[in-house]
Subunit: 171 residues, 2 copies
């Protein structure tokens, strides 16, 4: 049911992600959905909590990455439609729809990433650069909806961008 809710948030926007639409997509009735999530707020909190858990795992993977944390961070900022990407996109939709907890969750996530990357960057401006490029990648993905390929560097263009950022930002 959380997956169905996320999918509608991502593909059709926050306005379309109603209890009715979610229950239909999950293959249950509205009553059935409300048995598991007693309110819309509970459903939204479910998405946010899952995001927090996924970020914890991602930061561990980032610190262990072969190509280094910065390259890993930028590369995974391009939407691959994995569970973390979807959780971030869905939470962004909630935030833009006015959900304050969602905005707070996204700020918290960004701060956790920043804390993890800080020791690997030269100075504050370098960290800003890395974080903002990542934000930009996500922003473009969020605009596109997650399906349509957006104006986001891929393949060798992405490699060139990573090289450029690392050259000026790496500690």
């Amino acid at each position: 049911m959380l997956d169905a809710f996320e999918a509608i948030l991502i593909d059709e926007g926050e306005r379309s992600a109603t209890m009715d639409a979610t229950s239909r997509a999950a293959g249950v009735s509205k009553g059935g959905l409300l048995y598991h999530f007693s309110s819309k707020d509970a459903l939204e909190s479910g998405v946010i909590e899952r995001l927090d858990a996924l970020v914890t795992a991602d930061i561990e993977a980032m610190m262990d990455a072969d190509e280094g944390p910065i390259a890993y961070f930028l590369r995974t900022s391009v939407m691959e439609n994995d569970p973390l990407d979807r959780a971030i996109l869905a939470t962004s939709r909630l935030a833009q729809g006015g959900n304050a907890s969602a905005s707070a969750a996204l700020r918290r996530v960004r701060e956790r990433w920043g804390d993890a990357l800080r020791p690997h960057t030269k100075d504050a401006a370098s960290l800003d650069l890395v974080m903002l490029v990542s934000d930009g990648l996500y922003f473009n993905n969020a605009l596109e909806g997650g399906n349509i390929p957006g104006p986001v560097p891929r393949g060798t263009e992405m490699d060139a961008l990573i090289a450029l950022v690392e050259a000026s930002a790496r500690a």
Copy 2:
């Protein structure tokens, strides 16, 4: 009335930006609002059309800027709450709420900026870098709602970031 609609979109999110709330904020009745904008769609189109006009003026100013187009572009990507910032933020809200015209308008705007900046950058990766840092700045502003100061570089930190980007991207 457009200003009132924009203000609610920015400050309270797309969900709160109803015809009712807009008319109240504009100091007219719902009927009065609907005399000027015959539907909610017309109101949303009004915001988008104004954005297009403001971007045209901004690109002219960018090409004429003393410190050069890249520095101007990045510096003005930080929310100053001027009419263009507000139009972008409001249109972002509409896009995230599922309005397809708004998403298209934002893509179009981004492309116009990219076209204007391309001759001033070294290569594709450099242009990506500039555009993505700008996107990142807007993304963070959009999350914050436009009032609360966000995790966005200001003052000397912004100068340092601009220097960093220009060093690696300028043609």
